[in-house]
């Protein structure tokens, strides 16, 4: 295709051992269990999933904060597990991370100037006046103006939305090529959310960043990314462009998710929503075969509960892990 991939995740597994009484072995939580995808520079993709689906663990593995049990994260052709400590430092300078809780992400005793200056100092960028210049530009980009007013402020003096702008400014000040935003707006008010997401989108477009937006909210993902990866019980069940996924959802889980999301419509009060029974499975003992099979309306006995579905590609660029699409694959 066009560009070389910037980030490749290949058969990634992240497992957490559970201990009993502080030691002894009680089992393994398979938080990410066989995830593969490829993303190119300048792409904006969302990983959509419910809480406990493993989306944050996936984000942390991409950031190099979790050690995968199996599989690889490959950045620019270099597998992370082969990087030496110095190369890892370089990798981290290529990364931006926007956390969910902006207040928790900002050191309370540092002024905005120091918060933004810290990454530059650590990476030994420029002279003091040059750094000051970069800090000012970063604040202007996130529209915290007049800059003079915000530089000496401490995090507690800012509103939630302003705090999140500081976090975004900090995450992009090293001019990274990959930005991971883990639920960046779920702690913010509805009226501010759109503003922050627009800002992220502008940053992404202006700097040709690869943006990975981790969220539970399919409706915001629709407006701010081009590609959506749907995660269920530690696996990616469907990936496609926004249009493909929303106009023609293939996986029964994706369909249920889309059907459950309300719009402000008075008709809603008159009807009951069709929700698949049960709850997401425990990742300690996930179901055999397809993990959605106990809740699936299209369950096929003897197939779905026995064999794990691989990714099928019924349309170009539209991958779905579901046995319904075993036939009718596109020729590749």
């Amino acid at each position: 295709m066009q560009d070389e991939p910037l980030l490749e995740v290949r058969d990634l597994h992240v497992w957490f051992g559970l201990r009993r009484w502080g030691f002894g072995h009680a089992g393994v939580v398979r938080a990410v269990d066989g995830v593969s995808f490829t993303l190119r520079p300048g792409e904006a993709a969302a990983v959509v999933g419910e809480s406990g689906s493993g989306k944050s663990t996936l984000a942390k593995a991409i950031l190099g904060l979790n050690r995968p049990a199996k599989g690889q994260v490959i950045f620019e052709g270099k597998p992370l597990d082969s990087l030496k400590p110095r190369e890892m430092r370089w990798y981290r300078s290529q990364l931006g991370y926007v956390q969910q809780d902006p207040y928790g992400a900002l050191p309370p005793f540092m002024s905005v100037r120091r918060i933004l200056g810290e990454p530059l100092v650590i990476n030994k960028v420029g002279s003091k006046p040059e750094r000051e210049q970069r800090i000012r530009e970063a604040l202007e980009e996130v529209k915290l103006t007049p800059v003079e007013d915000f530089l000496p402020k401490f995090p507690h003096m800012l509103s939630g939305g302003q705090q999140q702008r500081v976090v975004i400014a900090r995450s992009t000040i090293m001019q990274p090529r990959l930005l991971v935003a883990d639920e960046p707006v779920s702690m913010l008010d509805a009226s501010v959310r759109v503003e922050i997401l627009e800002l992220l989108q502008k940053q992404q477009e202006a700097h040709n960043l690869l943006l990975i937006y981790i969220t539970h909210d399919l409706s915001t993902a629709r407006h701010f990314v081009q590609r959506i990866l749907v995660m269920y019980a530690a696996k990616i069940v469907e990936q496609a462009s926004v249009e493909q996924l929303l106009d023609n959802p293939l996986h029964p889980y994706t369909r249920a998710l889309i059907a459950a999301i309300p719009e402000p419509d008075p008709e809603n009060a008159a009807t009951f929503k069709d929700v698949p029974p049960g709850e997401p499975p425990s990742l300690l003992h996930p179901p055999t075969g397809c993990r959605f099979h106990p809740r699936c309306p299209a369950f096929m006995k003897g197939i779905c509960d026995v064999k794990e579905p691989p990714d099928f590609e019924p349309q170009v660029g539209h991958l779905v892990a579901c046995w319904l699409y075993e036939r009718g694959q596109v020729e590749s």
Partner: protein, 324 residues
């Protein structure tokens, strides 16, 4: 207006004392709720939604500056009731509350069945078996499997705990249940499930609901009536059908436009600016500084006027009708 209504509030105020002055969390709020109805109170965080719930249930903190107005439940004057009779006759048996994040406040060392049964044994003097039968019935209604009665809260998922908390609110058969952000911490599918449960309760038990939320889309699942709150005041009260079709107050319109839609519709917009401080809020319309339709008259405080059948708006754009 107040005859035969379920809940009638007139000029309700709840101000808190702080070192910098009185915070006008609930300021001259008036509304009427009918029986078997669900009223959704919508607004951003800090607009006074939860304080309104506290004002209705008289759950007041120590730093109350002003608590005044009229409040009637089934034509009974709540404001003149003494604390003890209010506690016995109104709280839980008349109006119950599912507080924000209540599902995280279940007692971790008591089985959920016992927690739900407790008010039945203590207040309604049922014996253990009667209470247990009643709890079983209730939990079935909210969709909690029977064997969960003997489990501890940590063994339940968030959605199941939320159902238990809703069952607790229903245990004394109240006329009105106040739900403060009942689904905001839950996943999409769980959220749809809980809304289904609430709809069923409304149909089967004819319970009324006051739903406090910032989530307009979800509120449309339950609401018959909508009240939009901004900076401590109600700026629009409307029947749900007309509201979701076309909100009138400029703030309501902006709020509606900020909802990201999954189907059709425009790209969502944000509301520039911030709500005013509720300590010495500006005179006149409190939304004026963020309002695209601002004009001279907005320096005066607009009244909440009736503009259509079942629709009231607090905005000068709609006050001409009243004078004619």
């Amino acid at each position: 207006m107040k005859e035969n209504s379920l809940l009638y509030a007139q000029d309700l105020r709840l101000y808190f004392r702080t070192t910098r002055g009185a915070v006008q969390a609930v300021d001259r709020v008036s509304f009427t709720m009918d029986r078997r109805q669900a009223l959704a109170v919508l607004g951003e965080s800090g607009c006074g939604k939860s304080s309104l719930a506290r004002a209705i249930l008289r759950l007041l903190p120590r730093n109350v500056h002003t608590y005044s107005g009229e409040l009637f439940l089934n034509n009974q004057d709540l404001m003149s009731m003494g604390e003890e009779s209010f506690r016995q006759e109104v709280r839980w048996s008349g109006i119950s509350l599912v507080a924000q994040a209540a599902m995280n406040s279940l007692n971790p060392v008591v089985r959920v069945g016992e927690q739900v049964a407790e008010p039945l044994e203590i207040n309604q003097h049922l014996n253990r078996r009667e209470a247990r039968d009643r709890v079983r019935e209730l939990l079935q209604m909210v969709g909690v499997p029977e064997d969960f009665l003997n489990r501890y809260p940590f063994e339940l998922s968030g959605g199941m705990r939320q159902r238990v908390v809703i069952a607790m609110a229903l245990v004394a058969d109240p006329y009105l249940v106040i739900l403060d952000e009942p689904t905001s911490a839950l996943d999409v599918l769980t959220q749809a499930n809980i809304m289904n449960v609430l709809k069923r309760i409304k149909e089967e038990k004819s319970t009324s609901f006051l739903l406090i939320t910032h989530d307009i889309a979800t509120s449309s699942e339950l609401a018959d009536q909508v009240a939009v709150m901004y900076a401590g005041q109600l700026v629009e009260v409307s029947d749900a059908a007309s509201f979701f079709y076309q909100p009138l107050h400029p703030y309501s319109r902006k709020l509606m436009a900020s909802v990201p839609r999954l189907r059709g519709g425009e790209k969502p917009e944000f509301i520039p600016g911030q709500p005013p401080s509720l300590i010495n809020p500006p005179g006149g319309c409190r939304f004026a500084n963020r309002c695209p339709f601002r004009f001279d008259r907005c320096q005066e405080d607009p009244p909440l006027v009736k503009v259509e059948q079942e629709r009231w708006v607090k905005c000068w754009l709609y006050s001409a009708d009243e004078e004619s």
